[in-house]
């Protein structure tokens, strides 16, 4: 029996009709085999547009629908819902993408129309082979995993936990807080970062719905939306967190007197092998660093810390733990790494003293930092002149091309703090001032009026002359090179993807943009979703952001995660594979290529079978199967071959 296909061509205003002759396309579509009706309409996605299709299904008993319009990413669901409301199986729809992949990318009207005809012909040829499929519904586990406990992860975790959903919060470092915990004051309001942040970190430790895993990593993720199984590796801290009171007696007793550079203090101070990262750390527990501990790295130590600990919390036999968690959705908030200025040797970082990064300046300026908040040179004197260099590693073809967004404001805030604390001459070397946020431009004006010199020109080099640092730049307003001798130079280092971003992307199966940050599902409309259903992004792991934007995105990601959990069930695509037991010869090639180990071999019958709950529909088994016993729903050989045929001829 012949099919009754309805072809509907959308003008999309002038988006499609501007380059493709839609009425000509409609006439062409009507001549195609099995097409019983072909119409074109201004906006098919509008209600009257959808009614047009519904009416034809009712009155002309159309049983297959081809919609030639925008990308299926936009409106496939819209039209599937429309036709299923008329009792037609939603998989009897095929979208011909004639906007993104035709009208928008071609200028020549005649040739664009020609290509659109090919695309519509292919879609018509394919839809005749479509089969009625049922979308599978799966239960959603009512819990969320949040990876990374910086401000983004903490905000997301607290929002979800307050709603009443269980959250597992994973942090790689032995304490939570991330980079925000290191900051002194925040622009443009000059709030003290720890004053506004500490209540949140304390709340994380107190909240009953949050299970905190510090010093832990996610090593494996299995499953799919609603049913992820996450394997967490918890590194040993060698301190029993229940017994440890955080008194710090062990730290004083540690025999590693020389110490190692502290990560939290950005290598501006030393710490012992057993340490408490900072006084407000959450959880406030001591941790032993395996690499620097004399006993754990060399096996030779009197273990004075064990004697010093009155609570008896130190346990050198602690082993790493591997924990499995079942969660419904995942929020990734792994943050950023500051750009490493060693990569740009012209700035003399690591060569000359008193050249520091922006984050190091934050530690210097912080009242809990190594100098108790005084801006001091290495020799302990107060600097008389300080240069701030913007865009170190950002907006630079030799480093990263992206703008890191926060460094202009951070540099100006630091300039303000330095002026206030030292009264030194301050120079800002900038390309452009990107003061984009609320109150930012006002802050820029305020800083300018404080008598800080703004030089429009990127600092090109820092060298030493007569014992002083000299910053070289071109003042592009005056059109002349300048050389300014200073006592201290602060490099406004940009935000780069976390050094483990690639590893994280692989573990979670999400993709990265060309700049290395994680990629959102749609740059405008789905900025917190990823291409994996049920995995969301928050904070700087998706791209450079300031604190308000990070908090906003983290709240958005939390809302997405909660909305998923609240649904209780989720529909997953029906495009799984199956193996015809009549045809399968048991060669096991499919088992070898299946990336999800979803195919099992039945020894008794000598054939392979697909476990549809595990199959994610990549189709690798169908292509490798020599006898074509394996077939993927909605991408069967017949369907794709028909599409190829329609596309070429």
């Amino acid at each position: 029996m012949g099919k009754k296909i309805g072809v509907y061509i959308c003008h999309c205003g002038t988006n499609i009709a501007g380059t493709v002759d839609c009425s000509e396309l409609g006439r062409f579509a009507a001549t195609l085999p099995e097409v019983s009706v072909s119409r074109d309409y201004r906006y098919l996605c509008s209600d009257p547009g959808q009614d047009l299709i519904k009416k034809d299904i009712r009155e002309l008993s159309i049983d297959r629908v081809v919609v030639a319009a925008c990308s299926p990413r936009m409106h496939e669901t819209t039209f599937r819902n429309a036709i299923s409301s008329e009792g037609l199986n939603p998989y009897f729809l095929n979208i011909a993408n004639i906007r993104e992949q035709c009208s928008w990318v071609h200028k020549d009207r005649e040739r664009a129309t020609e290509k659109a005809k090919h695309i519509v012909q292919a879609a018509v040829a394919r839809v005749t082979h479509h089969e009625s499929l049922e979308a599978r519904r799966v239960e959603i586990k009512p819990s969320v995993l949040v990876v990374g406990a910086g401000i983004a992860g903490i905000q997301a975790a607290l929002t979800i936990a307050n709603e009443g959903t269980k959250v597992s919060l994973i942090e790689k470092a032995p304490y939570i807080g991330g980079h925000m915990a290191q900051l002194d004051k925040t622009f443009p309001t000059l709030d003290c970062a720890s004053c506004i942040f500490t209540p949140k970190t304390v709340e994380v430790a107190r909240n009953k719905n949050i299970e905190l895993f510090v010093y832990s990593e996610v090593i494996n993720v299995k499953g799919y939306v609603g049913n992820f199984v996450v394997t967490i590796k918890k590194h040993p801290t060698h301190v029993d967190p229940i017994r440890c009171t955080g008194c710090g007696d062990c730290v004083g007793a540690c025999l590693l007197k020389k110490g190692v550079p502290s990560e939290f203090e950005e290598r501006m101070a030393m710490r012992r092998a057993i340490y408490i990262p900072f006084p407000q750390a959450v959880p406030l527990k001591a941790v032993i660093d395996r690499e620097s501990c004399l006993f754990l790295s060399r096996g030779k130590c009197k273990k004075t810390c064990v004697d010093a600990c009155k609570a008896g919390a130190i346990d050198f036999d602690q082993k790493e733990e591997v924990i499995e968690k079942e969660v419904g959705s995942i929020i990734i908030a792994t943050g950023y790494d500051p750009f490493d200025p060693h990569l740009l040797p012209q700035y003399g970082y690591g060569v000359y003293e008193n050249i520091i990064t922006g984050l190091q300046f934050e530690r210097l300026s912080s009242p809990s930092g190594p100098t108790q908040g005084e801006i001091l040179l290495k020799d302990g004197t107060v600097p008389k002149s300080i240069a701030f260099l913007h865009c170190i590693g950002s907006r630079d073809e030799n480093a990263k091309l992206h703008c890191s967004r926060v460094c202009c404001m951070a540099s100006m805030k630091q300039a303000h703090l330095a002026k206030e604390k030292t009264g030194a001459e301050i120079y800002e070397f900038y390309i452009d001032i990107n003061a984009f946020g609320k109150g930012y431009q006002e802050f820029y004006k305020r800083v300018r009026e404080e008598g800080i010199y703004f030089i429009r020109g990127k600092g090109s080099e820092i060298f030493k002359r007569d014992g002083r640092l000299v910053v070289e730049a071109e003042d592009t307003l005056l059109g002349t090179p300048v050389e300014i001798p200073v006592d201290m130079a602060v490099l406004g280092t940009g935000l780069t993807p976390h050094r483990d971003a690639e590893k994280v992307a692989q573990v979670f199966g999400i993709s990265q943009s060309a700049d290395g940050f994680f990629m959102e599902a749609h740059p405008k409309l789905r900025p917190v979703s990823t291409n994996v259903d049920g995995i969301f992004l928050a904070g700087c792991c998706q791209g450079p952001k300031d604190i308000p934007d990070t908090v906003a995105q983290a709240s958005a990601a939390a809302a997405e995660a909660i909305s998923l959990v609240a649904q209780g069930q989720v529909e997953v695509e029906a495009t799984t594979s199956s193996i015809d037991p009549e045809i399968c010869a048991g060669c096991k090639l499919c088992i070898e290529v299946c990336p999800y180990s979803a195919i099992e071999f039945l020894n008794l019958k000598g054939i392979s079978v697909v476990n549809e709950a595990l199959c994610k529909g990549c189709g690798a088994c169908t292509a490798v199967c020599p006898s074509k016993a394996a077939r993927q729903k909605h991408f069967t050989q017949d369907q794709v071959l028909a599409e190829v045929e329609g596309m070429i001829t």
Binding site: K616, C618, A620, Q632, Q637
Partner: protein
């Protein structure tokens, strides 16, 4: 007038197809003779699709997938890479030219690279001219033999008797997907070439005397660089060998 080749694209949903959508959103332009087909993952890029594309008159096929290590389904791009390389060998041996097939691995955000890829590939195919597979018109036997296309001429002799399929020990499909293609011998060769055991029965069976065994030997030499298709070792499994 310049020759406008027909170029078919197989686009991975995660990278190539998404990137093509992004290119549309940014209103970048590329040649309109690029015809895209979406696949859920390049792991599902079947040899039959490639065969059908060339038989129906495609002058070139461009496959676009995710960069190494970024496949959503872990190794779909690696599988496709191998399959494309094997198919390129076939195109080369047949004299169709391996430059008519290319695989490009791109991120979905690399819009300008995508456009460069498409336009560059179309330009390359345009220089090669129309596909000899179409020119030589494999279905009709009237056309004169042209130089350099020895194997295509050989295959023209195929009159769909399916003897090769019948005797082949590794050809066991119940329903033959390639039987309807314009030239059975080439399609069959592409289907079995990587799994061929080299028994040579097909050549003996061919009533038209197509030198199937010889071309398979040529292809197998080219496949040596691709590494094994199976992870299984030759011979009997150790646990099955009974020690006496």
């Amino acid at each position: 007038m310049n020759f406008e080749p027909i170029v078919l694209g197989f686009l991975c949903q995660q990278s190539g197809d998404l990137c093509a959508d992004f290119a549309g959103m940014e209103q970048k332009t590329y040649a309109p003779n690029f015809l895209p087909i979406k696949l859920p993952c390049l792991g599902g890029l079947d040899t039959i699709y490639l065969l059908k594309a060339y038989f129906l008159g495609s002058d070139g096929v461009l496959v676009l997938g995710c960069p190494e290590g970024h496949c959503k389904h872990k190794k779909g791009n690696e599988i496709a890479q191998r399959r494309v390389q094997a198919f390129q060998s076939l195109l080369e041996v047949l004299g169709i030219g391996k430059d008519r097939l290319d695989l490009a691995l791109i991120h979905s955000s690399e819009i300008s690279r995508l456009i460069k890829m498409i336009d560059g590939f179309i330009e390359r195919v345009a220089k090669l001219g129309p596909s000899p597979l179409i020119q030589s018109n494999l279905t009709s036997k009237k056309r004169e033999a042209s130089e350099g296309l020895y194997w295509l001429e050989q295959f023209k002799k195929c009159d769909h008797c399916y003897q090769c399929k019948e005797v082949c020990p590794i050809c066991f499909c119940k329903r033959c997907y390639i039987g309807s293609l314009p030239n059975f011998a080439i399609a069959w060769l592409a289907h079995v070439m990587e799994r061929c055991t080299g028994c040579g029965r097909c050549e003996d069976a061919c009533p038209q005397g197509i030198r199937l065994f010889d071309i398979i030997q040529l292809l197998r030499q080219k496949f040596l660089t691709l590494g094994p298709l199976f992870s299984q070792k030759e011979g009997k499994k150790e646990e099955k060998i009974i020690q006496i």
